[in-house]
Symmetry: C2
């Protein structure tokens, strides 16, 4: 897994996903200090808030860190200017065309990684000149692709299509899964849900508790007609499900979704009316622990799982 | 992966999935002769045809083989009588309650394995006294569960819930994926789609060619309101998709599905009007080869992938 460590100048090829309402400077700095790569999630931050988080992260650690920017962000120019001004060394882009920003960021010596959920967009990202690709499976939490291709099948198919360093995402919360991703051809992993249930995550404690309580089958990928998103099946989801029962009416879905659902759920802790974005692997997450311990566990479990594998 | 080899008295913990219109005695015998466990798929056979396949398989090899029986089969009593009379050593049951047949089959010294797609049914199967469990992820072809839990997340969650030998299914067509399944805690693998594109599979050559042509995104899990099934997105699927656009009407779906769609597609080779059941990993399958070569490739790729893994 050296390619990813070399690219980002980190000890372990573990990237903490940039997650709305969850990954501020505290989480990103804790991960980077522990040998992984922490990402600040710009998707839920006003520009001045993002600048504050970047500055605090730089003060907290001299290790590499990055910012994740969803490309549908309304104030994208302003966000990118701040990232360049503050000399953030690494940017992960998602939810948009990799052609949009890759060249201009790379001119500023910023490493650019694009998140994809299909082979087609992996190839497009490589053509656009990114430094690495995150391939994210159907099981991942939050916003996701339409093809429903799972981590287990997406990773080897993307690997066969590109030559760039490849980061696997979706379903990875243990060292065993990190080893499995490596066996499928990934050079590193991006871990989301596991870091939601960390001490340093900025999301609401009640949301973290819900993640810990989740079991197999607790999440669903829905709202494909607007933007596909995986979330816990709470009361808000039941309202969405009832609309689907009647047949798909996009306008009605949009009205019911309304605005600020993710903030309400994940940041304000409204477990009934909020949108609680999390991956399928929440079913395997049983406690809220410090980010440093998550990294330690991943490495220890990885080494143990590797020792258990036998050749023929 | 010794538990599975011991249980079935086989060399490699590779099970060839029992697949309708595809896995007759030729495929099952070829896999068993090559060191794996071949399964005859009873789901598409009249009782007398199944007996013929079992007898031919016994003549073709003295190695272990089994029969896969979907428990919604209309002539289930008759099928099970034949299996017992013909002294089939191993039965895989699916699509029904593991309580129904496990005890009576085990009394006849038959090893019983149940296929599940959720942690809940894995636990129920263990309680029912089965010898091993197949946990099949969302990416698998053919009939599937409703929870949409992927192989990458299902395997470790089932592993944490049961003590029985565990067979991973869904998305496994290479030795790298077999290694990944082991890293996630599986004791063996069940391989379906890869064996569809084998010389010995009894499905139509045109269907095998479609599997070879498939790319990432070519399949979809649909018909959840009847019985969830993953298939290629052909003309028949487009008709189903058009019905969904209008809103869910189960009777209309059933009428459009009609009877014999799977036979029409997979056995008769009607690529437009037939149901072409296959897994997401079809996107990685590029040629029709003998079953023995598939087994050899799986083991060779597994060992190579294992050598490439490094510890921290």
């Amino acid at each position: 897994m050296n390619k990813i460590c070399e690219l980002f100048k980190i000890k372990y090829p573990i990237i903490q996903a940039g997650m709305v309402w969850t990954s501020g400077w505290r989480l990103a700095a804790a991960v980077s200090k522990s040998g992984g790569l922490g990402l600040i999630g710009a998707g839920s931050m006003y520009p001045d808030i993002l600048r504050e988080h970047i500055q605090k992260c730089k003060k907290a650690t001299d290790k590499s860190f990055g910012v994740n920017v969803p490309l549908f962000y309304p104030k994208l120019e302003e966000i990118m200017s701040i990232i360049i001004e503050e000399k953030v060394p690494i940017v992960f882009t998602s939810a948009g065309s990799p052609k949009l920003w890759t060249a201009s960021l790379k001119k500023k010596n910023i490493k650019v990684v694009h998140v994809v959920s299909s082979v087609k967009f992996a190839s497009k990202s490589q053509d656009a000149g990114v430094d690495a690709i995150v391939a994210e499976g159907f099981e991942a939490g939050g916003h996701n692709g339409r093809e429903e291709t799972t981590t287990f099948t997406l990773i080897p198919m993307v690997k066969a299509a590109i030559t760039l360093p490849l980061i696997a995402a979706g379903g990875i919360a243990t060292g065993g899964a990190m080893l499995a991703a490596a066996a499928l051809g990934a050079d590193g992993v991006q871990v989301g849900s596991r870091f939601v249930a960390s001490d340093e995550a900025s999301c609401h404690p009640s949301f973290k508790d819900e993640v810990v309580k989740a079991v197999e089958g607790s999440t669903v990928l829905t709202l494909k007609e607007i933007t596909p998103v995986r979330m816990l099946k709470n009361s808000f989801f039941q309202k969405i499900a009832a609309l689907y029962e009647k047949g798909v009416d996009v306008e009605e879905l949009k009205t019911t979704l309304g605005r600020g659902r993710a903030k309400k759920g994940m940041f304000e802790g409204d477990l009934d009316e909020g949108e609680l974005e999390i991956g399928q692997i929440a079913g395997l997450i049983n406690e809220v622990i410090p980010a440093a311990q998550i990294i330690d566990n991943l490495i220890e479990e990885y080494d143990q799982a590797l020792k258990n594998l036998k050749s023929y």
